[in-house]
Symmetry: C2
Subunit: 157 residues, 2 copies
Amino acid sequence: MSEHKEISQKKTYRQEIEVVKNKLTEFLENNQQRKTPERYAILEEIYQLNEHFDIDFLYKLFREKQFRVSKATIYNTLELLLEAGLVRKHQFGKVQAFYEKSYFNRNHDHIIMLDDFQIIEFCDPRIERIKKDFEEAMDIEIESHSLYLYARKKNKS
Amino acid sequence: MSEHKEISQKKTYRQEIEVVKNKLTEFLENNQQRKTPERYAILEEIYQLNEHFDIDFLYKLFREKQFRVSKATIYNTLELLLEAGLVRKHQFGKVQAFYEKSYFNRNHDHIIMLDDFQIIEFCDPRIERIKKDFEEAMDIEIESHSLYLYARKKNKS
DNA sequence: CTCAATGCAAATCATTTGCACACCC
DNA sequence: GGGTGTGCAAATGATTTGCATTGAG
């Protein structure tokens, strides 16, 4: 069962990757930017990951695969993908930034487990409600939000 | 009226500062750490500020006042005040960290105005409700949270 | 007196920048 | 071809660290 699930998920990955590649193409064309192989390679790599990652992680991944990309390009490309709305950037209280793919799993938030720094995603409609209320009350437009809950396992009681 | 308010606020400041100094003393004694003048000076300075600040801002403030403190000490002390629960640290998506006093104004969140990077504080009980629900549902203890809404003024419609 | 805390400068680490070269358009 | 994007290395900027010195206990 778990194997079957895995296979069907992998299939989904490929479909998803095609979709986001098209999104990237669209974005690049709208902004008259070049469609370089690096940009697509980085996007593809990101959408094959299920975890949150940092620049260095991506960089090492490409090294292992013998695909040559410089860190500067990874930084640039992630900035670009951020503008395109294809990745999300997190600061998680560290200096080093973390990223995650964002196209198919929008609007979720994170619980950071302080015991082992595991990251759990969640979604709660009350957040959107709060945002809407503030938008109306203050006559502003909320472009995005970030919410983190820092938690520990309850034990030894 | 606004003047009167200001005066009464300043009075409150001094009282508040005495309270947090006692809190710091308590913390230092419990953790057998030294009560250095720098630590109290930094705490006092922070509790006189109403804004969010960064390390460099504090450092320059002390320079102006001819009070000698090194940046290293400011970093160390803010770390200590963080542990003592007397300041809050924010990453606001930048590399550089921001801080604010936390003892008398707990549990508020922030709206970051993207036009001018003005920071607005707000408080919404639904956040606490959400936290409680997740604590119960997942059998975890949420130690803290951070919520930022990134917004722009609505105009030229 | 003793050892933790400070000051200073050097070291580190993430991110940015400058420039020569490559390659998308 | 022309100019943007890339790679590399050097520059930057925030934070940390090492070490000699100071001063709190």
